[in-house]
């Protein structure tokens, strides 16, 4: 049955996108966990819903709208933060809910039946379009290349941004670039696990990897491999039992986390 599934174009797309999504997710997930940008990323993800709504309303590809809104949210939150020295927590919360509200608002302005947006909220890896696949490929090239080519600079930026600035490294540039990559990653993950479940897929693999290594590069690699494991097995389960892919992937990942944390605790206690 599983081999037969590969003969379908939609399943091939799903399989490739599971792998592509996992790679960016492992890398960017590690960065947002270490830079404490998890809530910020949640805010960016939810703001992108506004762009999806706008895409439906004006008739362009919703994914592009999502990317635009995500980049806008990321750069605005960071620049308002820097200028106003306000509590970014509250600011993230505002973007979070306003983005969602805008999405619903735009869609309700549409004449006729509103489109079904649940696949963006909860993900549906079995319906990934060729267009989304292309975006995923671009995202992978951008993220992998920038992290590999500038690895030491990312490391110093993540570990000690102030020290990096004192050395004369353009940290503001790195920061803005990072936010664009986060936005890109979130857009890539929308179709796989959806807006609401994105954070789990970004944070769980690095959390597991950190149980076994304290090397930044290894955490990124292990996270990506774990992501592949979770999304691909989630995909098969989802296909075989007709369960929503996003939920399956997240529940698999979370179970793996608890099992490995428990196992590690057991081994090291005895």
């Amino acid at each position: 049955m599983i081999l037969e599934a590969f003969s379908y174009n939609f399943f091939q797309n799903a399989f490739i996108s599971a792998i592509l999504a996992s790679i960016v997710c492992g890398i960017i997930g590690t960065i947002i966990v270490e830079k404490k940008l998890v809530m910020m990323s949640g805010g960016i993800a939810h703001t992108s819903f506004g762009g999806i709504g706008l895409g439906y309303l004006l008739g362009f590809e919703p994914i592009l709208g999502a990317f635009g809104f995500a980049v806008f949210a990321a750069l605005s939150i960071s620049s308002i933060n820097r200028k106003a020295r306000t509590n970014s927590d509250a600011l993230v919360g505002i973007f979070w809910s306003v983005g969602m509200a805008l999405g619903i608002f735009f869609v309700s302005l549409m004449p006729g039946y509103p489109p079904d947006m649940t696949s963006y909220l909860f993900g549906d890896i079995l319906t990934v379009s060729d267009f989304s696949m292309n975006i995923m490929i671009i995202a992978n090239i951008v993220v992998v290349a920038s992290v590999v080519l500038l690895f030491n600079y990312w490391k110093v930026y993540l570990f000690d941004e102030e020290f990096a600035s004192v050395l004369g490294i353009p940290t503001r540039l790195l920061e803005n670039f990072l936010f664009i990559m986060i936005a890109l990653t979130i857009v890539v993950l929308l179709k796989v696990v959806g807006i609401i479940l994105v954070i789990a897929l970004l944070t769980i693999p690095p959390a597991i990897a950190k149980l076994f290594t304290y090397d930044l590069k290894n955490i990124m690699i292990i996270s990506s491999l774990l992501g592949v494991l979770f999304t691909v097995s989630g995909l098969f389960i989802s296909y075989a039992f007709n369960i929503a892919s996003g939920a399956t992937i997240i529940l698999l990942s979370a179970s793996a986390y608890f099992i490995s944390a428990f196992a590690k605790g057991k081994i090291f206690k005895s």
């Binding site: 270490e34 404490k36 020295r85 590999v148 080519l149 500038l150 690895f151 030491n152 600079y153 490391k155 110093v156 993540l158 570990f159 000690d160 102030e162 020290f163 990096a164 600035s165 004192v166 050395l167 004369g168 490294i169 353009p170 950190k210 290594t213 304290y214 090397d215 930044l216 955490i219």
Partner: protein
Amino acid sequence: MNVIEVKDLSVDYGPVRALDNINLQVEKGEFLGIIGPNGGGKTTLLKVLLGLIKPNHGEVEINFKKPIGYVPQFSHFDREFPISVLDVILLGALEGKIKILHKFKKDQVKKAEEIMKSLGILEFKDRQISQLSGGQLQKVLIARALMVEPEVMILDEPTASLDANSKTEIYNLLKLLNKDKTILVVSHDMGVINSYIDTVACLNRNLHYHGDDTKLDQNVLEKVYGCPVELVAHGPTPHRVLKIHEEDEK
């Protein structure tokens, strides 16, 4: 020769003035202790010198080879960050200009190991930083700053929350480094700092500074310490009131 010259410097955070009209000269080879109460603007001054904060008024003249060897407060670090001691120290060898596919060279690794050896932390080379004591982590951060080959080092509370032995050890180390480097230390550990520094700057929004010609003897020290010590003390003391009067008269 003055390596740092601060002229009429003021910094505001919104309506709050953190530093007011600061003038300060740091001589080459000086060991300067910047002391003062919490919220007195010590960290702000330090960040201006490092170029991390732009002043609202005034200017800072820098007459030495950058970058500064900066040693931040180690207690503010995320100790869980996945990085080894050697990697932390090597990052000090990065240059501001970004190089694609940058790799640390063999002689940079060798230099890092030599610095670690001289600071007595070579055995921790491969440890993750959470496996270090406070004093050991402080030495790692000093080693990282030394990788920069700085002419001037700036340290923010290098001995805060360290035990007495580690404090002495760190200051002895700084005294040694002072042989060929200008050193600025922000601290509120006045008891330890006074036997090592050449000059002291007391900062509490304004600057009470004893400049280059006043090498500290015990009397001067008493006098100078009078201000911050009293200012740190709880509640308004007669001394503090007097200090404020003096400023008003200006």
